[in-house]
């Protein structure tokens, strides 16, 4: 019997979508392996209701660990001890910053192999395998584990499947390591800048480093305005970190996930951390002067050129067309 343990990341009473998707994906392969998908929640306010959010998507058992949340080391200590105590063969994470950190530490602690950015779990020869796109998604690699395996998913790769089931809930006391005591989370989830809504936009014009300056966001604003109501402006992590745009408008792994009818990337390179937040967009238009920018590998229409020339002209053309 091979049970799979899944880490559930929760904040303010909700388990995040990536974790719930990871539980559903694990439940899918666990039945093929003749086992079950279990989950573990780490935090100081973990209750039954939170645990049942994972029961509802395929976990048959949920372990709760009373320890500081938002810090990788405490969760890694608890999960490593749980794997040891319960003999799990595989540990799955739904992605995100903490998923990568905890997963890597657990792999080192339990002597397992690790795969990151996984997009699919499968069973091969009675063993769990994980598929990961590599080299800018031009090739799919399959990870096989000699012993225990740790899999960290790509953000949004695993679909949440409601089963309507419920899980038995049990607490687990884990000893924290000295390393865990060295870290204090002072502020978690601070929002900075204006509160803007990009998730409901039908058309999203996203500005990247290629805009050059914060002031040049007026180019993106102008284009969005030409498209009319239903259009909004978003940004990449690089420009948010540079202070050019508010955090609430950030698309990508550590920002928002969007799926507009039309995504327009202005000076956006299309790094994988950005791509995972917008790849469900129906149509992707990219303007970038770097012909090697990864965004051209998944754009439906790409223009290699100077956005400062093309975007204003496009804005005028759309205005003219709309009359």
């Amino acid at each position: 019997m091979a049970n799979i343990l899944v880490y559930g990341l929760a904040h303010e009473g909700t388990v995040n979508k990536n974790s719930r998707g990871a539980v559903s994906e694990a439940a899918k392969v666990a039945s093929e392996l003749g086992g079950e998908a279990h989950a573990v929640l780490v935090g100081t306010n973990v209750d039954d209701a939170l645990a049942q959010q994972l029961g509802a998507v395929g976990a048959t058992k949920v372990w709760t660990v009373n320890a500081a949340e938002g810090v990788a080391q405490t969760a890694a200590d608890a999960i490593s001890a749980l794997v040891e105590a319960q003999g799990y063969d595989y540990v799955v994470f739904g992605g995100g910053l903490l998923g990568f950190e905890i997963g890597a530490a657990v792999a080192a602690a339990i002597g397992g192999g690790i795969t990151v950015e996984a997009t699919e779990l499968a069973v091969d020869g009675g063993r769990l395998v994980a598929k990961r796109p590599i080299f800018g998604d031009t090739l799919l690699s399959t990870s096989h584990y000699k012993g225990k395996g740790v899999i960290v998913a790509r953000t949004n790769a695993f679909e949440v499947k409601e089963t309507g089931g419920s899980a038995t809930v049990e607490s687990f006391d884990a000893p924290a390591s000295a390393a865990a005591g060295q870290v204090t989370l002072k502020v978690r989830g601070e929002q900075r800048g204006a509160d803007i809504n990009i998730e409901d936009a039908q058309i999203l014009v996203t500005g990247g480093r290629g805009l050059g300056t914060a002031e040049n966001f007026s180019v993106a604003d102008g284009l969005a305005a030409a498209f009319g109501s239903g259009a909004a402006v978003g940004a990449t992590r690089a420009v948010v970190d540079a202070g050019w745009f508010p955090y609430a408008g950030q698309v990508g792994q550590t920002g928002k996930t969007v799926a507009p009818k039309l995504y327009v990337g202005l000076g956006v390179s299309g790094a994988i951390q950005h791509k995972v937040g917008m790849q469900s967009s129906e149509n992707v238009l990219a303007i970038n002067k770097d012909e090697n920018a990864p965004i051209f590998e998944f754009a439906d229409f790409g223009v290699v050129g100077d956005l400062h020339k093309i975007a204003p002209a496009l804005t005028e053309a759309i205005k003219a067309k709309k009359g």
Binding site: A72, G96, A104, G112, I134, Y247, V304, I318
Partner: protein, 261 residues
């Protein structure tokens, strides 16, 4: 305090990446210092410039003999000396095995702070910092965009799942530096020439006291194989702007065809 910066040589970004006959990344083409590592080196130099009592900055790499050129490039960006672990027995090491070897090198030096780049340009696992931290029994934090040192307390800022997090870490610790932490400076010609004269310690597994059974293919817990092309997505239309009026016309025609304007 001593700062160790872990660096890696990777295939140049312009080289098309492929899998070789041995099932590993083909590294025969042009190579370079991993771009993300320059942010880690810059962070080390900035801590020193900000007045931290930094006695020395040591660049450390694990890789074939040819990686010495990239290691020298790292030294030119502000390291005082370097350590190069090279051994045929390391070939095929996965991220846990590589992290184990790096941790063993760190133990020999016993620094207060280990810095590394957020990700490698080739394998891109974002994971080696946490593996090294676990083997050292030290906290590891990644994607750090701001770091300030006061005594033995490091105050860090980063973007996490729910917004910006601020953390305090008591050293020693392992910190992966985000590309948004700084704008790495180019080394001066003097620094590039000077790097050739800085001491480099060349080690093999035995010399470094590393258990050969825990590295290389045999010491790795994961094997990547069955490489295949992903499900094909209809290729997009890519044009180069030569005449902006004509370019805009084509974009509008495309938008029109998708009923987007």
């Amino acid at each position: 305090m001593k700062i160790l910066v872990l660096v890696k040589e990777v295939p140049d970004a312009a080289v098309e990446k492929t899998i070789g006959a041995d099932g590993r990344i083909d590294r025969s083409g042009e190579k370079t210092l991993n771009p993300s590592d320059t942010n880690a080196l810059e962070a080390a130099v900035q801590l020193k410039e900000a007045g931290a009592d930094v006695s020395e900055i040591v660049a450390v790499t694990v890789g074939p003999d040819s990686a010495s050129r990239s290691l020298q490039g790292a030294v030119s960006r502000g390291a005082d000396r370097s350590i190069h672990l090279s051994d045929a027995g390391l070939a095929g090491s996965d991220v846990v095995a590589t992290g184990y070897a790096l941790a063993e090198l760190v133990k020999r030096e016993n620094p207060e702070l280990v810095l590394l780049g957020q990700q490698s340009d080739d394998a891109g696992c974002y994971a080696v910092g946490s593996v090294v931290g676990q083997f050292l029994g030290q906290p590891a934090l990644s994607q750090v965009s701001k770091l300030e040192l006061s005594g033995t307390t490091l105050t860090l800022e980063r973007q996490a799942e729910y917004g910006y997090d601020t953390l305090e870490v008591t050293l020693p610790a392992v910190i992966s530096v985000s590309d948004s932490a700084n704008e790495p400076r180019y080394p001066s010609l003097k620094a590039i020439m000077g790097a050739k004269k800085k001491p480099v310690e060349k080690l093999d597994l035995a010399g470094a006291g590393i258990d050969a059974g825990k590295v290389g293919t045999a010491g790795s817990g994961v094997e990547c194989k069955d490489f295949q092309a992903p499900a094909a997505k209809a290729a997009g239309t890519i044009i180069t702007d030569e005449d902006t009026a004509a370019t805009v016309e084509q974009i509008v025609a495309w938008l029109d065809s998708r009923k987007l304007v």
